[in-house]
Every structure is written in C-alpha cells, then in structure tokens.
C-alpha cells in the first residue's frame, strides 16, 4: 500500500519568507508526527497529532512554527519568517495508534538562503 508521502521533496527559500510543508500519512493512521533532522543528528521531535488535535507540541522551537491537521489526515507544517537555522530535513511519520511503530516519509529538505 501507499506509504507516507511528503511534498515538496526539496524547498529553497529566502530568509524571511513563509513556507508550508505537507505530509500525507498512511490511510487509517490516527497518529502523525513531525520531526526535524539536521546533518549528523537523529530526528528531533517537533509535534504530534492524535486525530485532529495536537497532543504534544512541546518540540516546536518557537512561535514561528505551527502545524495543523484539520481533518485528521493530511498535515501541514508552517514556518513563518524563515531563518537560515531552520535549514534541515523535515520528516513526517504516522502510526496506527500511539502504541505502534512509526512509518516515515522521505522528508522535505528545506534550505533557507
């Protein structure tokens, strides 16, 4: 079946611009997670959703970052006033429930120039 998909695969933007990153989870998965991975590091937790609500957003670095999942399926990570330090690979994952293993998408590589 279809796995987790993320679009775009690459995004280059200028400092100060707004970006949206999209995640399409596996159908039927109730939990959805966003991570950020910098070079040489493991995935860093940002936020996760159980259904439509953000169950834990404590990993979002500041209020420039926001994520939504309005219908409990597709999610969008939004970054305002991007900074060069936001450059990283943003990973999305979904799982059937919180107790199950996560399935990851291929990631979106964000480069802020």
């Amino acid at each position: 079946g279809a796995g987790v998909s993320q679009t775009p695969s690459n995004k280059v933007t200028e400092k100060g611009k707004y970006v949206e990153l999209r995640c399409d989870p596996i159908s039927g998965h109730t939990a959805l997670y966003w991570y950020r991975q910098s070079l040489g590091q493991g995935p860093e937790f940002l936020i996760y959703f159980q259904g439509t609500g953000a169950a834990d957003d404590s990993g979002l670095p500041n209020d420039r970052f926001f994520a939504v999942r309005p219908e409990g399926s597709v999610s969008t990570l939004k970054i305002q006033r991007t900074e060069r330090g936001d450059s990283a690979v943003y990973l999305c994952a979904s799982s059937l429930t919180l107790a199950n293993e996560q399935y990851f998408g291929p990631g979106t590589r964000l480069t802020v120039t």
Binding site: G3, V4, Y33, Y35, G40, Q41, G42, P43, E44, F45, Y48, A55, D56, S58, L91, A93, L98, A99, E101, Q102, Y103, F104, G105, P106, G107
Partner: protein, 116 residues
C-alpha cells in the same frame, strides 16, 4: 531526563561477521524501544521494537535486538552482516511524559559499514 545514547558514530564489520550496534537509554517508566534504519536519500524504515515479553526481539532483514533492563541497553545484532546492511541506524525510545503524552526520542545514529 529521558535520553538515548548511541556511543559509536561508526561501526565497521567484515561481510559475513556478526555485527552489534549499541544503544543505551534512560527513561522514567517502562520503555518502548525501537530500531530504525536509514538508507541514503530514503526515509527511516522500521526494523523492530520491544514493548514487553521476551528480551530477544526479532525484526526485519535478519536483525534482532536484546533488551537488557539491568544495563538499560537495547543493542542491535545480526549473526552475519551483508554489504547491503551498510546504512545509518537509529535507536529510539518512547516514554510517557509528565504531561501524560508520549514522547519519542531518537539517538544520534550509528553508521554501519560492512566491508566486502
């Protein structure tokens, strides 16, 4: 604080030899432990997990991992390495946070290089 440590940045092993990739953890409650593998330009793939039960867990591609509560370790193993096993391996732990929600914490990764 919850944490996961992968003490080796890189592990080199000859093809056909057994391999071990180390992971230790620190959590407040009973841990759920996971191993993921990341191939170049691809997303993380689930290998195996420990939740409860037998300490030796078998997973995909012939990998297994041993949960050791007293040593707080969850080392990944394979009896005979293949060149195609060369990749980046991540250990992760799910812990129940004080807020009542779950947090997943990943290690920094270990690059496995299997030499022909």
């Amino acid at each position: 604080a919850q944490s996961v440590a992968q003490p080796e940045d890189q592990v080199n092993v000859a093809e056909g030899n057994p391999l071990t990739v180390k992971c230790t953890y620190s959590v407040s409650g009973n841990p759920y432990l996971f191993w993921y593998v990341q191939y170049p330009n691809r997303g993380l793939q689930f290998l195996l997990k420990y939740i409860t039960g037998d300490n030796l867990v078998k997973g995909s591609y012939g990998f297994e991992a041993e949960f050791n509560k007293s040593q707080t370790s969850f080392h990944l193993k394979k009896p005979s390495a293949l060149v195609s096993d060369s990749a980046l391996y991540f250990c992760a732990v799910r812990d129940l946070a004080a807020s009542g929600t779950y947090k997943y914490i990943f290690g920094t990764g270990t690059r496995l290089k299997v030499l022909a």
